[in-house]
């Protein structure tokens, strides 16, 4: 059997996955033609490309996957002739292939409305990675963005413009409101207000009649006579099925586009199938990925064995949940029921920008559909309740608002779902399939994902899959313990206590006493971190070097290409001109890229492994010490300039920051720790985004804890106020030691606090009021670590034996890795890109 697939998008790729899985003992030759030059990638998460994801991150499978499945992949070479009589296709580059079955997965193109001037410079469509790259190149020249289209894709495109740094961006919608197909009037209004409060301008009921400017866009003209300035425009007004190839070879297409298919996804020629956004089923184009995947499954089953295939495509639920510019938007079931068919319960909170509507059958028993704006946490449960016709609680409002007046929990959670409830709609995985996988021993999220594929596409069902794992294990009577990994049946907190009691000093001793097997990349860093937090010994001593995470093993941060970056400690961000000159001299000597970090220090990139000891020898000679940028340890204590120079400063924030940084330097913890000191309430050091932050007041210092920047920003909470300098440090001692002793591995203080029963009030009781009676011992433990501090790079530099470990080739210690390549950017070097 020979199958030719036209199109290597998400659905075309899914078809290949399905058909290769189903082949069994049959053999088939599969040939794919793709128009784009990249193998299939995740178009659903396209806007994340601007938020830092690379084309590789978005890729669905490497080119090697196709090779391993014996699939021939022709990229950048679209098919341009289908000869149905001869059953052959011919590509643009002239490759001709015969077929037994032909699968069209040509997808869709952006729909460009008929407006004069869409060919001007600065006008883009939003569809492929190439479109995004063109936008990325152009964006630095633009200051005023506009998007035509206020639907799903339009708002995604607006997010892309914001991510590209065009902060003044307008969305233009022809209809009187945003997302007219998915949500109702009130929902649109709440969404619009929320987006406007985030800085996006929204213009509805606007018909664009022309694009202004000579060769390059300068603005938009609307039919009501008004105009808008814009130097960059993205058109994202909908999709148009790619059916031109099908039409050219005489296949039946719809009046408004789309290749007509039957229940088995066959076109009017039974040996040709169409799947995904190019297929027109029952008068409808399905523009979401989940129905496309379902089509791929049905078509693959039918091609393998038409007689045996029970599967047919019968339309698909269009429920969807998205995050648009940080705002949750979801609709499910029937979002727009009429008042005479159903009751609706609506919750609107214009302060927080939340709108939730659920539609309930007239007898009040069943959920028909709904809309969630601003907060869609309940989406998965509501969708399941709706799809599986689960009877609602006596007071249906409870499913939105939760039980009130002290009543017990209304929803029974995942337990209430029937076995055939589809949990992962992208991959059509049922509750029963997930529970069976757990019962068969797949007791972690990763194992279940690998075994069932649930949660591997959009990831939206992940929380529910986790709940199902826990529920299934509980039902089996298994005690769910938070153990480190397969080698240690203890939690991190238990291990810390055991290692302390037995005074163990190395990973090997810990493994001998409490573990089994050889350890792994999970438990080794956990134990190493515990040892460092207890004893503060040199981490490379006692054979512990190979038990360190690899950055700790080489006391530097590995970067693209395999070179390392070097960060000396610059306490409080204060540095003398002489020391600056030293850094410059060293960076020049070793040809290092230099950059100021977010933590007020200087990072030098591109150092070969073998050069690290010599670089550090020179740094230490000039009075620097390790900055521990490579460790799960205290990083920096940032400071504003404070009362020494600033006319608003209340206290000397720099001196206090230096004192704190020098006290806790080298302190290893479950995760990295950052801190800052601000000299007044203007908070220039941004202390409230740190693991612990200190702000000067008229009477002393306010201490904030458990803040976080990063991917899930969280403000720090006030632990104690108006402290004198000594008390503040004692509280920090207690706080940090308590965190170090009780947190799970790789848990920042913010997440630790979120999981801590009793929250900040409990923490304050422990730290300030000493409710557990451990304050004195916490302080003593911290003092022990402070007294035991030594610069670990100085120890390496002074030890010929340790220095030997820093070479790339053990049998050619003088040679550097010859595969390391650099490129030039703005008069400095940069690592060569991933291949």
């Amino acid at each position: 059997m020979k199958i030719v697939v036209i199109g290597n998008g998400m659905v075309g790729h899914k078809f290949c996955e399905k058909i290769t899985q189903k082949l069994g003992t049959n053999t088939a030759r599969i040939v794919i033609f793709g128009e784009e030059t990249l193998p299939a990638y995740d178009r659903v998460h396209l806007s994340e490309y601007f938020a830092g994801k690379t084309a590789e991150d978005l890729s669905l499978a490497p080119a090697s996957w196709y090779a391993s499945q014996n699939i021939t992949l022709h990229l950048g070479d679209p098919v341009h002739i289908i000869d149905r009589a001869q059953k052959t296709v011919t590509s643009l580059k002239g490759i001709t292939e015969s077929y037994d079955f032909l699968v069209m997965a040509t997808g869709s193109a952006a729909f460009v409305p008929n407006i004069a001037g869409t060919d001007k410079k600065g006008v883009f469509i939003y569809r492929t990675i190439e479109d995004l790259e063109l936008m990325k190149d152009y964006a630095p020249r633009a200051t005023r963005g506009a998007v035509i289209g206020g639907g799903l894709l339009g708002l995604e495109a607006a997010k892309a413009l914001l991510d590209l740094g065009i902060t003044r961006t307008s969305v233009i919608e022809f209809a009187p409101r945003l997302m007219p197909r998915q949500i109702d009037d009130k929902g649109s209004f709440v969404l619009q207000s929320k987006l406007q409060s985030l800085g996006l301008e929204v213009l509805t009921g606007k018909n664009t009649s022309g694009i202004l400017g000579e060769d390059t866009i300068t603005g938009l003209q609307f039919s009501d006579g008004t105009a808008l300035d814009a130097d960059m425009l993205v058109i994202s007004a909908g999709i148009k099925p790619r059916d031109e190839l099908a039409a050219a070879c005489g296949l039946e297409t719809g009046p408004r586009g789309g290749i007509v298919v039957n229940d088995q996804l066959q076109t009017s020629d039974p040996s040709i199938y169409a799947v995904g956004e190019c297929a027109l089923y029952n008068g409808m184009i399905y523009g979401l990925v989940a129905p496309g995947y379902e089509m791929a499954e049905v078509a693959a089953s039918h091609i393998i064995d038409a007689a045996a295939s029970q599967k047919s495509f019968t339309g698909f639920d269009m429920s969807t949940k998205l995050k648009l510019i940080g705002v949750d938007v979801a609709s499910f079931g029937n979002p727009f029921t009429a008042p005479d068919q159903s009751h609706s319960i609506v919750m609107e909170d214009s302060i927080s920008g939340i709108y939730q509507r659920i539609n309930i059958s007239q007898d009040g028993k069943y959920l028909l559909g709904g809309i969630l704006i601003g907060n869609a946490d309940a989406y998965n449960m509501l969708l399941q309740t709706c799809k599986n016709n689960i009877v609602l609680p006596p007071n249906p409002a409870d499913v939105l608002l939760g039980p009130r007046n002290g009543a017990a929990s209304a929803g029974a959670g995942v337990d209430a779902l029937p076995d055939d409830a589809v949990i992962c709609s992208c991959e059509s995985i049922t509750k029963a399939a997930i529970c069976q996988a757990v019962e068969a021993g797949n007791e972690t999220l990763d194992a279940v994902k690998k075994c069932t594929k649930a949660g591997t596409c959009c990831g939206g069902c992940t929380p529910m899959v986790k709940d199902l794992i826990t529920a299934t294990m509980k039902a089996q009577g298994k005690y769910i313990r938070n153990v480190v990994c397969e080698h240690f049946d203890y939690s991190r907190q238990e291990l810390l206590d055991l290692i302390k009691v037995k005074s163990l000093r190395s990973f090997d001793e810990a493994l001998d006493h409490y573990g089994h097997g050889e350890g792994c990349e999970v438990c080794k860093p956990v134990i190493s971190s515990i040892l460092a937090s207890l004893w503060n010994d040199m981490i490379l001593a006692k054979g512990n070097d190979t038990a360190q995470d690899s950055n700790d093993r080489y006391l530097a941060n590995i970067q693209k290409g395999g070179t390392y970056s070097v960060v000396p400690r610059i306490p409080g961000g204060e540095i003398t001109p002489d020391k600056l000159i030293v850094i410059g001299t060293i960076a020049k000597e070793y040809n290092l890229y230099t950059k100021i970090t977010g933590g007020q220090r200087i990072d030098m990139f591109g150092a070969h492994l073998g050069d690290l000891p010599a670089i550090w020898e020179a740094l230490i000679e000039a009075g620097f010490e390790s900055g521990h940028a490579y460790g799960k340890a205290l990083r920096t204590v940032k400071s504003c300039v404070g009362s020494t120079w600033c006319r608003f400063g209340l206290h000397d924030s720099v001196s206090y920051a230096i004192r704190i940084e020098e006290r806790y330097r080298g302190l290893r913890a479950p995760h990295k720790i950052k801190s800052a000191v601000s000299g007044c309430i203007r908070e220039c050091a941004e202390a409230q985004s740190k693991d612990f932050g200190i702000i000067a007041t008229e009477k002393g210092w306010n201490l904030y804890v458990c803040g976080n920047g990063g991917s899930k920003p969280q403000h720090a909470l006030l632990l104690a106020q108006d402290l004198d300098s000594e008390t503040c440090i004692r509280y920090i001692d207690r706080f940090l030691m308590f965190y170090i002793k009780t947190a799970d591995p790789l848990t920042r203080t913010a997440t630790w606090l979120n999981k801590l029963e009793g929250g900040i009030d409990y923490l304050r009781n422990v730290v300030v009021n000493d409710s557990l009676g451990i304050a004195e011992s916490l302080e003593a433990e911290m003092q022990f670590l402070v007294d035991n501090y030594k610069c670990e790079w100085k120890e390496v530099v002074d030890s010929p034996e340790l220095r030997k470990k820093f070479s790339h080739f053990i049998n050619a210690p003088e040679e550097k890795d010859p595969t390391v390549k650099f490129e030039t950017l703005r008069e400095q070097k940069k690592a060569a890109d991933w291949k």
Partner: protein, 131 residues
Amino acid sequence: MSTISSTAITWFFACKTTDVPQNGGVCIKYKDEQIALFYFSRSNSWYATQNLCPHRRQMALSRGMTGTHQGEPKVACPFHKKTFSLADGRCLSDEHECSLTVYPVRLEDDRVYIGIQAGVEADVQVTVEAL
């Protein structure tokens, strides 16, 4: 044993046993190749693989953390923590990822030898360029 070669495999001297840290790896230069050599002291086992991690094509596996997965020896790449079996080279954390080339290791007193199959060197070179 006096000669270090057999019909199919060429054994080359890599390093002394004491050059390799316990339960960790080092990188060996062989002609233009880089080979990662690992020593598991608890089971006194030695493994050798290509040093190149196929995921992002980085010369880094010798610097990775070693361990076991249900008894099977493995290494985790320092870059993105993809794990590979040291027994047969297959990727344990992603079934779509390419496998590593593995090489036999042989000890003679305190000398470590790595075996290269005749003809393989050329193949390795070609494979690298084809990708």
